[in-house]
Amino acid sequence: MTPMPMTSMPLMEVKNLTKRFGGLAAVNDVTFAVAEGEILSVIGPNGAGKSTLFKLASSFLAATSGKVFFKGEDITSQSPHIAARKGIVRTFQETTIFRNMTALDNVVVAHHLRSRASLPGFFFGTKTAREDEGRFRESASEILDYLGLGDVKDMVASTLPHGHLRALGIAIGMAAEPQLLLLDEPFAGMNSEETAQAIRMVRGIRDRGVTIILVEHDMSAVMNISDRIVVLNFGKKIAEGTPAEIQNDEVVIEAYLGREDESEDRTCTLKP
């Protein structure tokens, strides 16, 4: 557990961020920061505003008020692709992959930001474009090998076993060479063995120099992996600190106990 080095400038800073849907504030005046090299988790009961916060941070939603800074630069309410260009890349839950492409192609496409050729260059198949293509394939293979998908890289993504899909999602995120990777529930639906493996994987990514923010339900995994944790309830930040601090926080315990009965309703979605 590395304590947050408060001296250097934080990689991402969220200040007084608010998002309203109609009259309802899904995220209400939330402020926190993440330092380079950190793993920060955002947790909270259902409906606490975690995924809204996640989308705001990755520019997939426009904020109602408040700011998001990345390396000191205001990136609030930009387009997602601009955020990606600056180095902020998010992943999705497992089903969001290119289902009709092979695993390898999924990752090759995701190398988009690294291409040097222009769009006309692609069209006419210039030398640069062809070189890019070769490099991307190599790099994609490397990423897939690293994430343990080397054996299935030529399988069409929709036919991959469930466990591999999430890793593929992360591989897609990695391909864009992020400085900050936002992971959307990376451990959901995993058994303890798989979770342990996934935790090692996420740590490994951090060790490659990528800062990580993750939104997660699995408490034990969160406590295990996080450097720091931000807790939301009803859109507001109610606590922030190291896992040990959070585990003993009265407010957090109250928030979870009071809502426990509702945490079941997630299981009823059948959507692929």
Binding site: C268, T269, L270, K271
Partner: protein, 285 residues
């Protein structure tokens, strides 16, 4: 001006009734029913034959149109849409299928009912004049009937078991399925209802406007406009869209007597959708 507003209301109420059926199908199965205008025409022809030809009372004709069209709706779902949608969930398939059914219904209507414009004698004759506004009785009857149908439809959706099941399906058909709604059966019911609404709209209007086999496409296009204004898949949106289009159309004809009205409506629609992509009341897509 009073006349213009009355015209707008009158047109708007009819439009709302037409749009209801389209939006119902859209919310239930995410299908854009191109044949909606053709179903309307078919409903009109049934009434023409029962009321105009067989000389039965108008309400019998209305009932005949409703039942015939409900049957056609069931057949559509059972023989066309269910098999296609079971296999392919792509929007393209269902859309082209419905474009195909639109052409089919139109050509069948042409073959069976002929190319002529058909009308029936007015159900009620006479005109009220209220403060300079001419209000023909026939039109009041149409407005009243349309309004009744809409109220009946809304009550049905809100307070009966099938209505609630349909609404659950529109919300989320998988969850509805989990909750024990027989979605296959209710999809048929949904189609029957939607086609019936189109048929009733057609039938109500025959004594006023008459009907001919070529009307369908333009009615469908207008219905699409209403649904885009109001927001697809929401009952309130269909009603609002219909009224708004009716009034805009009436105002347009008043202020731009040339052919510009619909050009302006279309351009306005593009601008409107750029600002409010989901229409007035639509759910996010």
């Amino acid at each position: 001006m009073g006349q213009v507003l009355f015209n707008g209301m009158y047109t708007g109420v009819q439009y709302s009734l037409i749009a209801l059926g389209l939006t119902l199908i859209f919310s239930l199965m995410n299908v854009l029913n191109f044949a909606h205008g053709q179903l309307y025409v078919l409903g009109g022809f049934v009434t023409y034959y029962v009321y105009g030809g067989m000389k039965l009372p108008f309400f019998a004709a209305l009932l005949a149109s409703a039942l015939t069209l409900a049957a056609v709706g069931c057949l559509f779902q059972i023989f066309f849409f269910r098999p296609v949608m079971r296999r392919s969930v792509r929007e393209e398939s269902s859309m082209l299928l419905s474009a195909g059914t639109a052409m089919m219904v139109e050509s069948l209507v042409l073959i069976f009912f002929g190319e002529k414009h058909r009308g029936v004698p007015a159900v009620v004759n006479g005109v009220y004049e209220l403060g300079g506004v001419f209000v023909p009785k026939g039109r009041l009857l149409v407005m009243g009937l349309s309004f009744l149908c809409m109220v009946a439809f809304i009550l049905f959706m809100r307070y009966t078991k099938p209505g609630r099941a349909l609404r659950a399906m529109a919300q989320d058909s998988e969850t509805a399925c989990l909750m024990g709604v027989n979605t296959a059966r209710y999809a048929i019911l949904g189609w029957a209802l939607a086609a019936m609404l189109a048929g009733i709209a057609g039938a109500i209007l025959v004594p006023i406007s008459g009907v001919n086999s070529g009307l369908g496409n333009w009615i469908s296009i207008k219905t699409f406009i209403m649904v885009m204004i109001g927001g697809a898949g929401v009952i309130s949106g269909a009603i609002a869209g219909g009224l708004v289009l009716g009034i805009i159309e009436s105002l347009g004809y008043h202020f731009f007597p040339g052919g510009e009205t619909y050009l302006i409506i279309f351009v306005g629609l593009i601008v409107f959708l750029a600002v409010r992509p989901n229409g007035l009341m639509g759910k996010a897509v």
